[in-house]
C-alpha cells in the first residue's frame, strides 16, 4: 500500500522515535515485537502505533507482531535514510562547528559535502573533514555539486535572506539553527528553536 493521503505532521514526527526504539531492540538482539510492547516502551497506545504504521503499509503479521529488523528497515526506507542527500552547512561559527562535527549526517539521510562562511579568517580551516569555503564560491559550488539541503547556522539578521538565496540556488530543504523563523517558498524548513524550547521549560517549571 502506498500513501493514500498526506501523512500528518504528528505522524511524521513520531517516525524517528519508532526508528530509534527499533534500533535499540535490534541491538539487544530481540527478533520480534508487537504494537503492544512498542506502545508500552514509548508511553503511547498500541492503537496509535498501528494506526501510524498503517499510513505506509502492512508490516506485521496477525497473531505474531512485527519482525524488529524488517520494521526497522521499513522505517529507514520510509524516512529516506538509505539515500544520502548532498547537504551543505552555512555559517561555520561555534554552533556550525558543533553541528558539523557531532551530528551523524550519514545515519540520518544526508552527506555533508561543503561548508561555507563569510568570515575570511575561517575560510580555509578544516571542519568535519571539509575545508571551509568563502560565500563567494557558494553559487559555483551549488551549480556543480547540486546540494539539496542546507544547514543554517547564522545570525537571525541574515538567515532569511541567505535562505532565499540558497533556495534560488536549488536548495530544497533547510535545517535551521538560526534563532528565528524562516519562510521560503519551494523548500521545506525544519527549525531547531533552542530559545523557544528553553522558554517552554521555564513555563513548565512555573506551572507544575
Amino acid at each position: 500500500m502506498v500513501q493514500k493521503h498526506e501523512v500528518s505532521e504528528s505522524v511524521v514526527r513520531r517516525l524517528p522515535r519508532y526508528y530509534r526504539l527499533l534500533q535499540e531492540l535490534e541491538r539487544q538482539g530481540q527478533a520480534h515485537t508487537s504494537s503492544r510492547e512498542l506502545g508500552k516502551r514509548l508511553g503511547m497506545t498500541a492503537s496509535q502505533i498501528r494506526q501510524d504504521l498503517s499510513c505506509f503499509g502492512c508490516f506485521g503479521q496477525q497473531g505474531y507482531g512485527y519482525s524488529v529488523t524488517e520494521l526497522r528497515e521499513n522505517l529507514e526506507r520510509i524516512m529516506g535514510l538509505p539515500q544520502l542527500l548532498p547537504a551543505i552547512l552555512v555559517g561555520a561559527g561555534n554552533l556550525g562547528q558543533v553541528v558539523a562535527e557531532n551530528v551523524r549526517f550519514e545515519q540520518r539521510g544526508f552527506r555533508l559535502i561543503g561548508i561555507f562562511d563569510i568570515k575570511p579568517e575561517l575560510v580555509g580551516n578544516q571542519m568535519a573533514g571539509l575545508e571551509i569555503q568563502p560565500m563567494e564560491q557558494l553559487e559555483a559550488f551549488c551549480a556543480q555539486q547540486k546540494p539539496v539541503a542546507a544547514v543554517l547556522c547564522l545570525s537571525k539578521e541574515v538567515a532569511q535572506d541567505t535562505a532565499e538565496h540558497l533556495v534560488s540556488l536549488g536548495i530544497r530543504g533547510l535545517w535551521n539553527f538560526s534563532h528565528c523563523d524562516i519562510a521560503v517558498e519551494h523548500a521545506k524548513v525544519v527549525t531547531m528553536h533552542l530559545d523557544d524550547s528553553l522558554m517552554t521549560l521555564s513555563y513548565k517549571l512555573h506551572n507544575l
Copy 2:
C-alpha cells in the same frame, strides 16, 4: 482570570513564537496590534491567537486590539521569564560549550550557575564565565546552591542515570541535548532531538 484547566502542550509551544513576534514589533516601535495582524504575520488564524491568549487572561480591548508592550510583558510573565531560575549544565564537551556560551539563558528565564564534567582534563577550565567542576562536587553544590534546572549534554549511555541522579538532588527541570529520550518522575523534561529533527527533514524531502 487564572488558568481554569491545564493549558495544552500545543498552546504552550506557541507562546514563545508570540513572544518573539511581539518583541520584534516592539523593537520596530509599533505601539499596538490585533489578533488579525499577529495571525497574518505568523501564518495562523486570528481566532487561534485569541483562543490561546484567553487561556491566561484578557489582554486586549474591544475595537482596539492589544498594546504591544503590555502583551509582550504579559507573555513574559506567563512564561516565568522575569524570575531567573538557577540552572546547571552537565557535560562540558563541544556541545555543552556551545550551549553554555551561545544560549541567552538570562533572557529565557534561567541563570547558569554551575558547569560540571566527569573528565579531569576539562575540570578547572573556564566556560561562559564559570569554572568547570568535577562531578564529585555536584552533590555538595546542589545542596548549597539549590539549582532547579539542568542542561544535559551527555552521551546517551549515561544520560538516563545522570538525569535520575540530578532529580534526586532536587533538579525539577531538564533541558536534554543527549541523543535519547529521558523518563524521570518528579521533573519536566524538554528534549532537543537533533537527530529526529534531521530525519524528519529527510522524510519531507523524499515526500515533496
